[in-house]
């Protein structure tokens, strides 16, 4: 014990302040840069949107003064406010308005007649608001004199302030807040149906020995490759008034909840399937052996073993589906008819009525359920990861003739549903003029004469997808690396992690609108990227950041934690390690991220709908706009172009992955 000298407890040794290494400095800089990127492209725009939702417009009656010429002299100036106090012609509710609000002035003069010879004067006291004569804007503080006939053309314009008025208006307008109920209802119904359907499919894939599993798996993934509004177009051809099999609906209209629900099931199916299939494939085979040895019936085993083991997967899938549906814009836009949903409301407010403030309010309203579903999903996923790490033996299904047949039949049904919708779109795209000229041809591919930007928009989409895949993958990977492999900086890292998770909770419509508010502000030094391909790339990367980030982090977590320690003990900079080891080893995950970004950039509609410019029209938006203009067949044609492009991209992805695997992943072969 000669070396351990116990010092008195009062002695507190000076704390060591570790010297930061060059590597750590570089890493911190990189993390700060990408963190800053997320702040600028996510946090600040959202903040701009939030403050927009509090920016209100109201008529400031105290700011307008009138004089009336009666008999032979001008009356004393009197404000609109005091006139209204006497007459009560404008209610307080009418005073709060939106940016394009207008208020006639003749109401303040009960004896007004445009035929009378009475003359009027009006002025505003300070420069906060303005008034119009017809459409002529007057914003000075001079007195202006009008004849009765002109005075009736005078309308007051509102002045701006901040407050909760927009929210008050929102929640007192039934046509607006009804959408909350509608959105929740649709999301809930789709959640139940999709999760049940996907569970059955995943069950057949994992627990039966039916044939063609590979084909079924491929088909089930197909909806990921098309914009969410494509099934809507297919449904019009199937169940519209000229629909091929509209009889099946028994007089119900496809335009509305039915259409939204069927289409939503289509596009959310693969997302739910991936999650549930993973959950089923990791559950422990030993439990089944135990159940069999206990002579438990298949049915009982299902409820006591299968369901509990997959429950986290089911929950997670449910919330993911919920989130996808409630934030989706394309599908309800195409097939929703009069059925209002939140995401479409944002569009209607902004594009239809130019009421940006109300658009911001609806965005905030939509943000809440999306965030809620997202946080529950994160919570559940954490639990599942814990479950995953337990040692388990994979389950090996055994042949069972009747069960396998049922599974095959069911899977076939789902496959027909999915391929059917896609097939109908392709068919529709080739028909010359449904339903009057059924001959086939390529005239619907002549996009140049349609809305939406023609073939240019298709190539723009490919450009966007390409840039997004490259820039996004780089950024995501570097960001994940820094957050995963940096020592210390705990606070900064958890802040970064939070920022990286946030995009998933932000609906695309909300993000796009927030970008308008933030980037289209001339005071913003980044204003120059507005209306360029750049902003579309940035928006898309940010929109799909979370899943990419999680993929990268998972891949990085599988790397030995001590690689960095080894490299620094060998005095080699971290970037040498990154380029020589980390990146090559993570290459498969990196390729996965890039194809994910590519496919999503091809299909996304919601975020970019507010941001594209004539030079940067996109294929997915073209689908929407062509459908909107009634050119449904060309819309289907363009949608199918997106589909084939994504199929091709996937094939190339598989090819490259194979090639690179052989070249760089030789070490994986034992």
């Amino acid at each position: 014990m000669s070396h351990t000298t116990t010092l008195p407890d009062t002695d507190t040794a000076p704390l060591i302040r570790p010297k930061t290494s060059r590597d750590d400095k570089i890493k911190a800089v990189f993390m700060a840069v990408i963190g800053l990127y997320l702040v600028i492209t996510l946090a600040l725009p959202l903040y701009a949107m939030l403050s927009k939702s509090f920016s209100t417009y109201s008529f400031d009656l105290s700011n307008f003064e009138f004089q009336v010429y009666k008999i032979d002299s001008w009356s004393e100036p009197v404000t609109a406010l005091s006139l209204n106090q006497k007459l009560n012609v404008v209610t307080p509710a009418e005073l709060s308005t939106s940016s394009d609000g207008r208020l006639g002035v003749t109401a303040f003069f009960p004896d007004f007649s445009f035929r009378s010879i009475t003359r009027y004067k009006i002025r505003q006291i300070n420069l906060d608001s303005s008034f119009l004569v017809g459409s002529e804007r007057i914003a000075d503080t001079e007195w202006h004199e009008f004849s009765s006939n002109d005075f009736r053309r005078v309308v007051l314009r509102p002045s701006s302030s901040t407050g909760l008025d927009n929210y008050k208006i929102y929640f007192s307008t039934p046509s607006l807040f009804k959408s909350i109920e509608n959105s929740l209802f649709i999301a809930f119904v789709v959640m139940i149906i999709t999760v049940s359907m996907a569970f059955g499919f995943a069950y057949a894939l994992n627990r039966s020995t039916m044939r063609f599993k590979g084909v079924f798996r491929l088909i089930a993934m197909a909806p990921i490759l098309v914009p969410s509004l494509l099934p809507g177009i297919a449904l019009v051809y199937l169940f519209g008034n000229q629909g091929m099999i509209k009889g099946l609906l028994m007089g119900q209209s496809i335009y509305g909840p039915i259409g939204i629900i069927i289409g939503s099931i289509f596009f959310t199916f693969p997302h739910a399937l991936i999650i549930i299939s993973t959950a089923l494939s990791i559950s422990d085979g030993r439990l089944y052996e135990a159940a069999i040895s206990l002579r438990a019936s298949r049915w009982k085993t299902f409820w006591t073993v299968t369901i509990p083991a997959a429950r986290y997967g089911l929950f997670s899938a449910a919330f993911v589906v919920f989130n996808l549906v409630i934030t989706d814009f394309g599908l309800p836009k195409v097939i929703g008819g009069q059925y209002n949903m939140l995401a479409v409301d944002i569009y209607k407010q902004v594009i239809g009525q130019q009421n940006f403030e109300m658009g911001a309010v609806v965005s905030v309203v939509l943000l809440l359920p999306a965030m809620f579903a997202f946080s529950i999903d994160r919570y559940v996923q954490k639990k599942q990861v814990a479950q995953l790490s337990a040692q388990s033996v994979p389950y090996e299904p055994k042949p069972h003739k009747r069960f396998d047949l049922i599974c095959l039949f069911y899977s076939l049904l789902v496959a027909v549903f999915i391929m059917g919708l896609i097939g109908v779109c392709q068919y529709a795209a080739l028909i010359k003029f449904w339903p009057y000229d059924l001959s086939l041809g390529l005239s619907n591919y002549n996009f140049e004469v349609m809305d939406g930007g023609g073939w240019g928009s298709y190539f723009n989409s490919i450009k966007l997808a390409f840039f997004t895949a490259i820039a996004g993958t780089l950024m995501v990977f570097i960001g994940a690396y820094m957050v995963e492999k940096t020592n210390g900086l705990t606070t900064a890292r958890s802040a970064f992690q939070f920022l990286a998770m946030m995009p998933m909770a932000v609906p695309g419509m909300v993000l796009g609108l927030a970008y308008i508010f933030f980037f289209n502000n001339p005071a913003n030094p980044l204003n120059s990227i507005y209306a360029t391909m750049g902003i579309l790339v940035i928006c898309t990367v940010t929109h799909f950041y979370t899943v990419s980030h999680l993929t990268a982090v998972t891949a990085l977590k599988q790397m030995d934690r001590e690689f960095e320690s080894v490299a620094s003990s060998l005095k080699q900079p971290f970037y040498k390690l990154l380029f020589k080891v980390t990146f090559p080893v993570c290459l498969p995950a990196t390729l996965d991220i890039s194809i994910y970004l590519f496919v999503n950039a091809m299909t996304t509609v919601s975020a970019v709908i507010f941001l594209y410019s004539p030079d940067t029209t996109l294929a997915s938006i073209a689908v929407l706009n062509m459908d909107d203009a009634g050119d449904v067949a060309p819309a289907a044609a363009m949608g199918m172009m997106i589909f084939y492009t994504n199929v091709a991209a996937r094939l190339i992805h598989i090819f490259i992955t194979r090639k690179l695997m052989i070249k760089t992943q030789a070490w994986r072969v034992r």
Partner: protein, 371 residues
């Protein structure tokens, strides 16, 4: 064992001087004011149960997780606050952390590559290192194509490639099966001795520590219990913890009576000098192999002779472990290790009675813990 070791010579220089090292994780103190001198060229082992802070200590020395307070001086330079890249050490982890996508050669040359060194010099050095660890013909393979033992040696070669002044090993052998482990212990020790590189090795395996180390640092709960050569640690455990942790040890509760006497049950043992006041609760400890059967006709010493009844016998291959009792000692059982010869010669069997001696100089006394 490894005596005489180089570190025991009085004039050995101190290579690593650790003073009052404390490491806290939040409110939890993982290392509490530990101080230690490591001599030039020795192999020193941190030994202790899992979670006692060995790795934490090693990582503090490496600068991978810098201590909360306290100083580390390596070769005369205060490196307390330096990042790992500015220190001089090579490290081997339990997982080896070999780069999976690089060949064995590329793994080893990873640390050698810089502007100053030519490609041929690097290749030469890599070959030298491969020969050194006996894997000259494996250079083109990927780590996953090697056995665990081979991987371990590659990790060692990589750590030694830059000829660091200090080699740090964190449980380098614990991922291997027993046979390979035994072989590699020997190999590593030989290599370390021939290179003369100062080495700190972490292990929870006492056998590994005892066979390989020049000196052992026994740790428990974030503090150092004892530092000494394997023989010292084994034969003269400084604390009850050390006595208990290393090897087998009979422990009997008693109370002191004199400066070298302890009352146990109804008998009194003469022990090593303990200089404790009288009537203090203590534990008397003796290793099973130190209990000597007294053969008939042998001239027996006066002290610590007991007649014991054999309760149980367990054959452990090269010897028997005999459990014995004596009413004078209360319920306590004494274990003694006896050679197969002795068992036969003395006709020892269950229920027979034998006379044993507890040699005075082998009887250690420790303060009882729960006082």
């Amino acid at each position: 064992m490894n005596e005489p070791s180089p570190s025991h010579s009085q004039d050995a220089t101190v290579f690593l001087q650790i003073d009052n090292l404390t490491k806290k994780f939040g409110t939890f103190t993982a290392l509490d004011k530990v101080s230690l001198d490591v001599y030039q060229g020795e192999l020193i082992c941190f030994l202790g149960p899992s979670g006692c802070g060995k790795t934490t200590f090693l990582r503090a020395i490496a600068g991978l997780d810098i201590q909360t307070s306290g100083t580390v001086i390596q070769a005369g330079e205060d490196i307390s606050a330096l990042p790992p890249s500015e220190r001089d050490f090579g490290i081997v982890f339990q997982s080896y952390a070999l780069f999976p996508n690089l060949t064995v050669e590329k793994n080893i040359s990873f640390g050698l590559e810089n502007e100053k060194t030519s490609r041929s010099d690097i290749n030469h050095r890599v070959q030298e290192l491969l020969e050194m660890v006996g894997l000259s013909d494996q250079g083109k393979k990927f780590p996953t194509q090697l056995s665990g033992g081979q991987q371990q040696r590659i990790a060692l070669a990589r750590a030694l490639a830059t000829s660091p002044g200090l080699l740090l090993l964190d449980e380098p052998l614990s991922a291997l099966d027993a046979k390979v482990r035994g072989y590699l212990r020997h190999e590593m020790k030989a290599l370390q001795r021939s290179l003369g590189v100062t080495t700190v090795m972490v292990t929870h395996d006492q056998e590994e520590a005892l066979t390989m180390a020049d000196r052992i640092v026994v740790m428990n709960d974030g503090v150092i219990e004892q530092v000494g050569t394997p023989t010292e640690i084994y034969r003269e455990p400084g604390t009850l913890f050390v006595a208990d942790f290393i090897g087998a040890m009979n422990q009997i509760n008693g109370r002191t009576t004199g400066s070298n006497q302890v009352v146990v049950g109804e008998t009194t043992f003469t022990t090593q000098k303990h200089d404790l006041e009288a009537n203090i609760p203590v534990v008397v400890a003796i290793r099973p192999e130190d209990i000597v059967p007294v053969e008939e006709g042998e001239s027996s010493p006066e002290d610590n002779i007991l007649d014991m009844t054999v309760e149980d016998m367990e054959f452990l291959g090269s010897f028997w472990r005999v459990s014995m009792s004596n009413p004078l000692l209360g319920k306590a059982l004494l274990n003694a290790d006896m050679s197969v010869n002795a068992i036969q010669r003395l006709h020892i069997d269950i229920r027979t009675t034998i006379t044993v001696e507890l040699p005075v100089d082998r009887l250690c006394v420790f303060l009882a813990e729960n006082e």
